[in-house]
């Protein structure tokens, strides 16, 4: 097999499969015994995810006009938005997330943004992950610092499907990473020899030790997931995913679902991880982004399948879980000249999990009236993303407010944690 992908769909599926990164951290790091079971998954959607398609405000009078050919049709129409309230729906590709929303286990923050206003992917992702207000302002990520203030680290491990480490979990608390594919043979001599050779290497020593420790766990998790997948997937699909009939899950979603199941297996293992960060890439839809179907729909179906796998795999532990999706910025309110959208400002965060408190949208909706648009261009931000993260860290994981204001999100005392997200 070679790595060159041809159809757009295959291309997306594969690049996404490569682009998903799971990072795990934290075992028994919680001071509060009540919080000891609680789990948090942060999914970073890279490329600037179009919030107006994730949670289309089809009830906003300006929406259809601004969006033209890429507008998601209204409630009840063919390919229409899945209704959340009178204004908002979810994209039809987010069907599993919608099922959760109907149980009160998924909500949206439809006008959320980081403090960055530069519309640069790389700066904005940096700010999203470093937890500050300026790009390149810190070399550690806020989730790593949150672990740091929660308690002394013990046996922290991580897993990365893309083999590279995202900023959000980089920092003083050691994290682990894992990706599928060839690993170390446990009975070989080389790992032991290298551990000795790396004894005084500050980078390679800890990295190899963590990598090896995660391997054993990964094997167990994969074995578990594989047996579950065989049990619940019709044999024909396993053999030939391309043969799936029209209307059945899109190509690549099986992989995404498996990744979700694998992450769940890691999190529910006896010494499982409580906190994880995941990256999903390729949301930069400058041209031909599509509506109910198309480029963006394929990406969202992938995201949805991952969430579905995670939800299924966590089983009863879902009740103790919060999942947040976040992107570096939203996209322009108006469709551009190439049936896509350019870099914008506010976007949508999905907040999901059995630990959620039932409720409406998180934050205010500024509307899409021309006068309301940010710089006559983008959805205006009404909620600082740090407020959402702070709310989740405080109420779900019991992180102290003062530490949130100064260490996790430095200089953010004026940004209040969003209240009442979790039950």
């Amino acid at each position: 097999m070679t790595e060159f992908t041809l159809s757009r769909r295959q291309m997306f599926a594969r690049s996404l499969a490569l682009g998903i990164t799971l990072e795990f951290a934290g075992t028994q790091v919680f001071a509060d015994p009540l919080a000891a079971k609680r789990k948090l998954v942060v999914i970073i959607c890279r490329g600037g995810q179009d919030g107006l398609s994730v949670s289309p405000p089809v009830g906003d009078g300006a929406y259809a006009g601004l969006r033209g050919p890429i507008a998601i049709p209204g409630f009840g129409q063919a390919g229409g938005a899945l209704k959340l309230d009178e204004t908002f729906g979810l994209h039809p590709a987010l069907s599993a997330s919608y099922a959760l929303a109907q149980k009160g286990e998924a909500r949206i923050a439809p006008a959320i943004a980081t403090p960055d206003r530069e519309r640069s992917h790389f700066e904005a992702q940096d700010v999203l992950e470093n937890g500050g207000t300026v790009a390149y302002g810190a070399t550690s990520g806020w989730l790593n610092r949150a672990l740091g203030v929660m308690g002394p680290r013990s046996g922290v491990k991580a897993i990365s499907v893309a083999a590279t480490a995202p900023l959000i979990l980089r920092g003083p608390v050691e994290t682990a990473s894992w990706s599928p594919g060839g690993g170390a043979e446990p009975d070989h001599r080389l790992p032991g020899i290298l551990q000795d050779l790396y004894a005084h290497d500050p980078v390679l020593g800890p990295a190899l030790a963590t990598g090896l420790a995660t391997q054993g766990m990964a094997k167990a998790a994969s074995a578990m997931v594989n047996s579950e997948m065989v049990a619940e997937t019709p044999a024909a699909d396993m053999m030939n995913p391309a043969a799936t009939p029209a209307g059945a899950p899109r190509q690549g979603t099986a992989e995404a679902r498996k990744l979700g199941l694998t992450l769940a297996a890691f999190m529910t293992a006896p010494d499982g991880k409580q906190v994880a960060a995941v990256s999903v890439e390729n949301f930069d839809t400058h041209a031909n982004q599509g509506s109910s179907q198309g480029q963006l729909a394929t990406r969202l179906a992938y995201l949805d399948a991952f969430i579905d796998g995670l939800h299924t795999g966590l089983g009863p532990a879902w009740a103790d879980t919060v999942v947040v999706t976040a992107t570096e910025f939203g996209r322009t309110a108006r469709v551009n000249g190439t049936r896509g959208t350019d870099h914008g400002t506010a976007s949508t965060a999905l907040v999901l999990g059995g630990a959620l408190r039932r409720g409406g949208i998180i934050g205010d909706w500024p509307t899409l009236k021309t006068a309301s648009l940010f710089e006559n261009r983008d959805t205006a931000p009404t909620l600082d993303m740090r407020g959402l993260f702070k709310g989740v860290l405080r109420d779900h994981l019991g992180v102290d407010r003062a530490a949130l204001d100064t260490v996790v999100f430095p200089g953010s005392a004026t940004i209040a944690p969003v209240a009442n997200i979790t039950a």
Binding site: L6, S7, M11, A158, G182, L204, A207
Partner: protein
């Protein structure tokens, strides 16, 4: 330079080159700087594939798939069990083979070249002007892009490199410029009459400013990006309308160009069709911000994640004094004392790691179908950088636990095939010269098999760094 000569030659070959082939460090020892200088040449970097068809031909191949698909949709879509007609599958296979052959040739050049500094310099610029194969339309264009736009110009003027990259079909397609139309252009009006909406796409304009030239430090605004995007309208790739002769070639559609003058970063550019964006690029290339941005990236790539300020300043000055002559910048890098710091501070990317392994073992990759998945597993899928920013160039990105485990697994299987009857300690001395530590020598010497010794060498801290 006060360091000992053996160390200097080891640094030249491993840090600025692509890792030592057998005997390379010894041959370089007489004059490490001269060895590097001699690799700079006006005609640019080596082409890795002499018989590569031009981008236009590759583009036509891609278009055939689209046509075949459209026909299949109209006709008997269920012709084969997978629902994909044979004709489409055949062309797909062809494209996959083409891209695979390109990558293999590039790896083979790196594994064997005697001018490894020149090759590293070319790889740096290819990454600076990233076109990624994650888009279907660019999947088979990366090779032609590099050979046509980048490699001939890496020791020329940066401005020429910038223009060649920005106007190559691969870049125009990758960053959506090919579809961007001036909202007040004749083409847009014509389309509007027919009920189609055409307009601006600012993707390439933004990335030229942010990634390729001045960088965000320059403090440009959204208005500057939009204005530059307007100036860029007209650049496109020939399609059906232009006829077979122009298909897949760069064209400038006057009818799609936004009329009027533009103001970008405080400077006014009069109406002038293609000349307008050309003038903007000229100014971007001449900007001190660009000089500093490029100098920082070069210093980071060649010397340290956190580049020595002295080196960055030196390279900036060389760029400005020479009006962006990249051969002068390369010479300045070679003569700078910071370049020769004894401590190896760069952690190899997977690509660099594999290439240096082949060079150390005196072998060359043969089967792309086996290598491509390995590269992907280490986090660096060939010709498929995750974004226009290209591959990261820092230890924190590459030294993740999983990445190290993947390197170890490959070292083991590679060494089993490559070790042969050679003494791994000798291979280590050839590969690292004066950079080889006594601890590594001792560990390699204690190996149970030659293959184990070679895999220890490849995984040693000094081999993983440069």
């Amino acid at each position: 330079m006060a360091y000992d000569k053996d160390l200097l030659s080891a640094i030249a070959v491993t840090r600025l080159g692509l890792g030592a082939k057998g005997g390379e460090i010894a041959q370089t020892a007489a004059d490490p700087q001269g060895w590097l200088m001699a690799q700079i040449r006006p005609q640019g970097a080596d082409l890795f594939r002499a018989d590569m068809p031009p981008a236009a031909e590759r583009f036509r191949q891609y278009r055939e798939i689209q046509l075949a698909r459209r026909e299949a949709k109209a006709g008997d879509a269920a012709a084969t069990p997978s629902g994909v007609p044979d004709s489409v599958q055949q062309i797909r296979r062809l494209i996959r083979q083409d891209a695979g052959a390109d990558i293999l040739s590039r790896l083979q050049l790196a594994a064997s070249t005697d001018a490894a500094f020149r090759e590293r310099w070319a790889l740096f610029w290819a990454n600076h002007f990233t076109v990624s194969g994650v888009k279907a339309v660019t999947a088979n264009l990366i090779g032609p892009f590099e050979q046509e736009a980048i490699r001939p110009r890496v020791f020329g003027r940066f401005e020429d490199l910038l223009v060649a990259s920005s106007s190559h079909p691969a870049m125009l397609l990758y960053l959506d410029q090919a579809q961007s139309v001036g909202p007040n252009s004749p083409a847009a009006f014509r389309a509007n009459r027919n009920g189609r909406r055409l307009g601006l796409n600012e993707n390439l304009a933004r990335e030229i400013m942010e990634l390729h030239t001045v960088g965000v430090e320059a403090g440009y605004t959204q208005a500057d990006v939009t204005e530059f995007a307007r100036a860029m309208t007209g650049w496109g790739v020939g399609g059906v309308r232009e006829g077979e002769g122009e298909a897949g070639r760069t064209i400038f559609r006057d009818a799609a160009h936004e009329p009027g003058s533009r103001t970008i970063m405080g400077r006014r550019y009069g109406e002038g069709g293609y000349e307008q964006s050309r003038a903007v690029m000229r100014d971007l290339a001449a900007s001190p911000y660009t000089a500093r941005h490029l100098a920082t990236k070069i210093a980071r790539h060649f010397v340290a994640d956190d580049p020595p300020p002295g080196l960055t300043a030196r390279l900036t000055q060389a760029y400005l004094d020479s009006r962006g002559d990249l051969s002068v910048v390369a010479r300045s890098l070679i003569t700078a004392p910071e370049t020769w710091a004894p401590q190896a501070q760069k952690f190899k990317t997977p690509y660099e790691f594999m290439v240096s392994s082949w060079r150390a073992a005196g072998t060359s990759p043969e089967d792309i179908a086996r290598i491509a998945p390995v590269m992907a597993s280490m986090g660096q899928r060939a010709f498929a950088a995750p974004s226009p920013k290209g591959w990261p160039d820092d230890t924190a990105s590459w030294a993740a636990p999983d990445g190290i485990v993947k390197r170890m697994a490959w070292s083991e299987s590679f060494a089993t095939q490559a070790a042969g009857e050679r003494d791994p300690v000798v291979l280590a001395q050839n590969a690292l010269g004066a950079r080889l530590s006594p601890l590594a020598v001792k560990t390699i010497a204690r190996a149970e098999t030659r293959a184990e010794g070679l895999s220890i060498l490849l995984m040693s801290p000094e081999f993983q760094r440069r």
